[in-house]
């Protein structure tokens, strides 16, 4: 019905446009005669202009600082990804999908071609050639939070305590010891990053008020960043913090900008788990390719329709 209406509306409009056109047949002019002696000038060849790659000073400064040392430490930490009201917890599997991708030989980009150390399941190494001929060692620590896929079982598993502590340490110590930290997990209503099974209400829902009021993860992150400045008198080693979690721009980025001079990648939208995974890989690849703002923005946007992430404070 709507299609029909639109069709007739446009048809009527179209006909009136035709009627409004001057009747060309009535006033038809003969085509202009070619000037016999006219000098036919050769058409100038279209200039092929290669648009120079514009790299902002800010972008160059960022990468000079990032690649200053022969070793770059990057951490990718998957938070505890429960799917309440379901029992399924996904971060262990998402991490493994991520790991399989970075271990593959490179075809496109740089989130690939890593090798794993023999003594640490979570440490991946890659020697990245630099424009000056030297090679930079990329040390990538990829940690996850859940010991299994079932939230109820995880809560009964003593090893979950260790795993949560381990992931939490990978993230929070990374804020002062790593060059880049990427978090892929829940925002917990502003109380994330979170690496433990969530606190529950008596009705087994997530205790949102706890996360909103106490903001345990974020408060810890801000404290860690502030303490670094206070104790050392300068910003820590961290240059980029990526928060691949739902609405992380609104939840975290303003306060982060006030606290530390670091680049922040964040999302204004809710993030679908598959998109967060692809965006995390895109961010890793983009930073290793020394992409500036617009290219990196392309590398980390995802979803359908494509949704951009925010890049602030760097590049």
């Amino acid at each position: 019905m709507r299609r029909l209406l639109a069709f007739w509306l446009l048809l009527v409009l179209g006909v009136s446009v035709v009627e409004a056109k001057p009747k060309t047949t009535a006033v038809a002019k003969p085509p202009p005669k070619p000037k016999a002696m006219a000098v036919i000038k050769p058409q100038p060849k279209a200039k092929v202009t290669v648009k120079p790659v514009v790299r902002s000073e800010e972008c160059d400064r960022f990468y000079r600082a990032l690649y200053r040392k022969p070793v770059i430490n990057i951490r990718v930490v998957f938070g505890y990804k429960d799917t309440r009201p379901g029992r399924f917890v996904g971060d262990r599997h998402e991490r493994l999908a991520f790991v399989q991708r970075i271990l593959k030989p490179c075809v496109n980009g740089q989130a690939c071609g890593f090798t794993r150390g023999p003594q640490n399941t979570d440490l991946f190494i890659k020697m990245l050639p630099q424009p000056n001929g030297k090679r930079t060692r990329i040390q990538l620590w990829v940690a996850h939070s859940a010991v299994g896929s079932d939230d109820i079982e995880n809560r009964r598993d003593p090893f979950q305590n260790w795993q949560s502590r381990y992931a939490s340490d990978a993230f929070f110590s990374g804020l002062t010891k790593a060059d880049v930290v990427l978090y892929n997990g829940h925002s917990r209503f502003g109380g994330g990053p979170d690496f433990t099974p969530p606190r529950l209400t008596p009705g087994n829902g997530i205790e949102t008020s706890y996360y909103q009021d106490e903001r345990p993860g974020f408060a810890h992150a801000i404290d860690t960043l502030e303490a670094e400045v206070l104790l050392t008198g300068r910003a820590g080693r961290l240059k980029m913090l990526g928060l691949f979690s739902c609405a992380s721009s609104q939840h975290f980025s303003d306060e982060l900008k006030k606290t530390a001079k670091v680049g922040v990648l964040s999302s204004q939208h809710l993030m679908y788990h598959g998109d967060a995974l692809e965006s995390s890989l895109g961010a890793l690849s983009g930073l290793l390719e020394r992409q500036c703002k617009s290219d990196l923005a392309n590398s980390i946007r995802s979803g359908q329709p494509m949704r951009a992430m925010n890049i602030e404070g760097a590049l």
Binding site: A6, F7, L10, V18, H93, Q100, T121, D157, P158, F159
Partner: protein
């Protein structure tokens, strides 16, 4: 003649624009709804998306086609959200090409008493030593967990081959499987794997084995090892940080509050 041509051109434009107008008013397609099933602001919005998907008469065929496309994850989310168990054979037929493990995970979510034998027998079949190489580590990890939870005992040859896999994640999943068999079903068929895990090169595997052995020691009248032996194992750790973590596990055996 020109006028006729103009009218014809206009007619084509009208058709194109009316189609665009129609598209802008059209109901969201299944992929848009699927995203709302995965992430939505409210539970009401999610339920609305599920209801709209249920009303889509072409949904099954779209989902089957999507399983081999870039929309695979969305299709899997919809299949689980709508409990479309009739899709189990479609999923099982693709399990050996499940690169990221998400298909297997979603298959697990469709497990019920009626289809348990069908799914587990297929898992057992492709976890035979000769078949394992064709599977992705992610798919293996996803398969082992429900098998352990359900108390499904795999043949020794399969478990041994799985524990020889290069991916430490697969070995970690074997430890988890053995733990579930022993703790939830009192089946100690593969507990020997834990001793082997204590000698693993990766410290995470060693710590997981210590935690599991400690748990079995506490929960069983027939402990596989003594606490003293585990303490000695922790003392053997050469790296001070790993040693500290090892003792931390021995001293913090409680579950998550």
């Amino acid at each position: 003649m020109k006028q006729v041509l103009h009218v014809f051109q206009l007619f084509v434009w009208v058709i194109a624009i009316s189609a665009m107008v129609e598209a802008s008013y059209a109901a969201p397609n299944w992929t848009q709804l699927a995203r709302k099933v995965g992430i939505s602001e409210t539970e009401a919005e999610r339920l609305q998306a599920i209801a709209a998907l249920r009303a889509d008469t072409k949904l099954s065929s779209n989902l089957i086609a999507a399983l081999d496309s870039d929309n695979r994850l969305l299709a899997l989310d919809v299949i689980v959200a709508l409990s479309m168990r009739e899709m189990v054979p479609e999923l099982l037929s693709r399990i050996t090409s499940d690169e990221d493990g998400f298909l297997t995970l979603n298959l697990n979510a469709l497990l019920e008493e009626k289809n348990k034998d069908l799914i587990f027998s297929r898992y057992q079949e492709i976890l035979k030593p000769a078949e394992i190489a064709q599977l992705s580590p992610a798919a293996i990890v996803a398969m082992l967990e429900p098998l352990g939870r359900a108390g499904f005992v795999l043949p020794r040859a399969s478990v041994d081959e799985l524990f020889r896999q290069a991916f430490p994640e697969v070995r970690a999943a074997v430890i988890y499987y053995v733990r579930m068999l022993a703790l939830r079903h009192s089946r100690r068929d593969h507990v020997r794997v834990l001793s082997e895990a204590l000698r693993a090169g990766e410290f995470q595997i060693r710590l997981q084995a210590i935690s599991t052995l400690l748990e079995l020691t506490r929960s069983s009248g027939r402990p596989p090892v003594t606490r003293e032996k585990l303490t000695r194992r922790c003392e053997k750790e050469s790296h001070p940080k790993v040693k500290r973590q090892c003792f931390w596990i021995l001293d913090n055996p409680g579950s998550v509050p």
